[in-house]
Symmetry: C2
Subunit: 349 residues, 2 copies
Amino acid sequence: MSEKKGFHVAVVGATGAVGQQMLQTLEKRDFPISKLTLLSSARSAGKTVSFKGVEYKLEEAKPESFQGVDIALFSAGGSVSKELAPAAVEHGAIVVDNTSAFRMDENVPLVVPEVNEQDLLNHKGVIANPNCSTIQMVVALQPLKEKYGLKKVIVSTYQAVSGSGAAAVEELTQQTQAILNNEPFTPEILPVKGDKKHYQIAFNAIPQIDKFTENGFTFEEMKMINETKKIMHSEDLKVAATCVRLPVATGHSESVYVELDSADAAVADIQALLEKAPGVVLQDQPQEQIYPMPANCVGSNDVFVGRIRQDIDVPEGFHMWVVSDNLLKGAAWNSVQIAESLIKLGLVK
Amino acid sequence: MSEKKGFHVAVVGATGAVGQQMLQTLEKRDFPISKLTLLSSARSAGKTVSFKGVEYKLEEAKPESFQGVDIALFSAGGSVSKELAPAAVEHGAIVVDNTSAFRMDENVPLVVPEVNEQDLLNHKGVIANPNCSTIQMVVALQPLKEKYGLKKVIVSTYQAVSGSGAAAVEELTQQTQAILNNEPFTPEILPVKGDKKHYQIAFNAIPQIDKFTENGFTFEEMKMINETKKIMHSEDLKVAATCVRLPVATGHSESVYVELDSADAAVADIQALLEKAPGVVLQDQPQEQIYPMPANCVGSNDVFVGRIRQDIDVPEGFHMWVVSDNLLKGAAWNSVQIAESLIKLGLVK
């Protein structure tokens, strides 16, 4: 197989919220595909999914499904990745895994192409796609790090329910309608499917994403903290996160406070830096009420940054508001972008 | 008139979202009222409002309306307060003003009774009720200040639309239904009535509350910064705020990062402190998924605090999640509470 003809691509979890976006992204990018294999759970096997006008039948994902596959994009949950990614690698595929299964594995590069594309050169078969809320933040922070250095980051998130899957979006919709109709409803999914309690998300804000760890932070918050350090190669960077779920379908927002190593930066410098930063769209004209909002980011691969302000007390401190489509740059697009980088770097056989 | 019989109370702006809550709060608290005068704009004058089962006719608020009034609760916008509060004081009334008109006036105490009740002793006729988002934060911070001292506060807010008035709540409801029905809609109020542009609030998050100032912060953010310092008598406290409007009807939430002067505190110490703090309800059992949420705070006068965590890098840094009913502790209840304090301190003739 030559690079020109394209690659045999497998998508694992093709019916999920992210899997669907992966297929749309592969189609939009006109990704060089010679053969497409769509894999799913036994439950979804046999269903058909359309890609570039052709119907594909879903096959149940098994170790032998990866025979001949060049690139396997996984997004079917951590347990599926843990079980099948090694088999895919054994069959010669490069795995781009969108779950948290391998992210903190020191043998697995955790990659956001705008930040650490070169880490792909050290891959051993599996590449991890970071957590959605981490990705958009590091894209906005990297240009600041390169020019000024980073000392400390404090982030509070405003996260959309689609990060919990398509069923959570459906729960938000149904619950909202029930409340408007003054009808009873029973929360069943959010904040965390499989946790003990479930709470109303419609017209509410839930300060829990993923389960709690022993230190009082949630796993989502610890992901933002640990993944940011790994992706940016900044073990000494101080990172703190508070993650909150909102009644928004798609589009994560983040209120980010960052302290730079240098006190030389002005707001205009940071705006100029972000204006030409890869993957970033600057939307920062407060007097014209121009700033990013989740409702405007849906369907775009970009990370939108605005509300950039210098802290009033700390000259090296800056505040900003970072918004991105959590299903695209936060998941599907970053995964496909990693696959494109792998091809560009000649890493796919 | 003796204190035992009660006081002549006037409510200015009795038909507004906060005015209605003021009347309900006066009723619930069985506030000692000998006479009640309900004042409004010329437009609303003549309407009737019920209080303790009696119908009251609204009168147009004029300078002479305050004859014989002991306590005047103002919540009809800054321009009404600026025009009529001096007249009320001239007639011998004490004014508790819920607008921003006099908050930063050095002759006007800005009071949250749990924090600085003693400032009432210096009043010159007008007492200002702080901004809603400021009040709930300082109630949670004061016990930490008293025991450990405060160095720095960084807050990101998650604010309800009722802070923009009853019409904004109606806009959220109607817009949400339109989106669920896939019908067109035109934002007309939020983020700021009277600003140039209006944006969708349903299923969105808008990083603008009030208009923008020259330094890139909004007036709401500058209120949180300046009012916090004034109420807490902490000119040197570093405060930074990012204020965001959410599709929530009532109940403001805040992600608060605070650095203490002392590195001696543990999470359990702070929990113990807040558990017995006036006006605070601790809801902090992450393993049981117990934490404050706006949907649960509505109708309560309390400030709910949870998700207390020690920062991973900064031993004197703590994160917490603070929720309160913005119409009650954030406005109506704090105003009535100030009036109760004035009586308790013997400041009402």
